[in-house]
Symmetry: C2
Subunit: 193 residues, 2 copies
DNA sequence: CGGATCGTTGATCAACTTCAACGGTCGTGG
DNA sequence: CCACGACCGTTGAAGTTGATCAACGATCCG
């Protein structure tokens, strides 16, 4: 249960056995079934969630009722409505399990307490967030500068697991394109090859 | 020169006088004239830069030669090609002064050394990056779900300073729309009011 | 004064969306 | 265990948004 978390942390900083014991106490574990919700829009996102097994997505719904996937999270990823979690305001995102999941959760109070108890966790999260910013920046520029086809190609090149595990219409939603468009793009690519 | 930096840091964590002295030693200051470059695409981004005075932008150039603004940074903001800085690989972004600027710079080695010398800086950057992620996430979803007009309205509502200080065609570029489109949107809004 | 830069306007064009219909597959309940 | 419905991907046709191309006027600054 915690091995995934510890090994993920230790990719960035080193932990003593004592640290691990302390850290483990801050988290509670939870199992989710496919299609179960971890968070619904309008609730406050009470927990920062580490995915130790399975796959989830965050998405929001626009004025026309269309869903837009914000993030996919599987083993080794953190997931939340980050703004809601940090500011304790109502969430704009939903978090739903795409596969059966096992997750570890920490509340905001515990998250802050964790940093005081194990100060190296400040560094861990600092490094984690650094990398996250780079990824988000890249995705944003991709979204602005690339065509639908280019966005798709970039995604499958940078992350082949995504296409293997995730239904096509959710990938389309993640890329910000209509499912029909993605279908046509794939057809077109196969044809040209 | 450093007051802006210290007060910015102290919005998030508290510093002793000793900390301030130590921190100041890690930075070097630099002045820039309007249109001067802090970084050009292809170079390694050697410094993380804090803007103490003035205004800069990062942008990249797509295959067709079109510029796309990634970020604006003015007093109290950090600016860099973050990926290039962290991985010491060639930058994809350019950084250019829009106004005359005064900046404080720190190299990657010094950045890492700073965290060891003043561990609370790990927390400062962790919090800084937390907030940055929320902002980038919001901008990304805006870019995917909103029309050009909605993106513009959201921008001026959330950040009125931007429209006051920044030429319209750069705002268009930041929003990922053509300058002509932004011009028409403004006309349209004025007309409807 | 003259050139560069910036914003505006009009006309055309391309990419992608939307709407609608259909076929395949998967899972669940009878 | 089969049948039905839900879900998913595909295809076609039409519609819309915003991009592109081109020209022009205004302003700023050397």
């Amino acid at each position: 249960m915690f091995e995934m978390l510890f090994s993920h942390i230790q990719e960035k900083v080193s932990l003593t056995e004592g640290d691990k014991k302390t850290i483990a106490d801050f988290f509670t574990s939870k199992k989710l079934r496919k299609r179960q919700y971890l968070l619904q829009e309008g609730e406050v996102c009470k927990y920062l969630t580490f995915v130790s097994k399975g796959l989830l997505r965050t998405y929001n719904v626009d004025g026309k009722g269309t869903e837009h996937v914000n993030v996919f999270g599987w083993e080794g990823w953190w997931i939340s409505d980050f703004n809601s979690f940090l500011t304790e305001t109502p969430a704009v995102f939903n978090i739903e399990a795409i596969e059966n999941c096992e997750v570890l959760q920490i509340s905001l109070a515990e998250y802050n307490a964790l940093m005081l108890a194990v100060p190296i966790m400040d560094r861990y999260f600092r490094i984690l967030y650094q990398n996250s910013i780079v990824t988000k920046e890249r995705r944003l520029m991709s979204s602005i500068t690339h065509t639908a086809e280019e966005k798709y190609l970039e995604l499958i090149e940078s992350n082949s697991e995504i296409t293997a595990r995730i239904p096509q219409h959710l990938i389309a939603s993640y890329l910000g394109i209509a499912p029909e468009t993605l279908s046509r793009i794939k057809k077109n690519l196969a044809f040209r090859k």
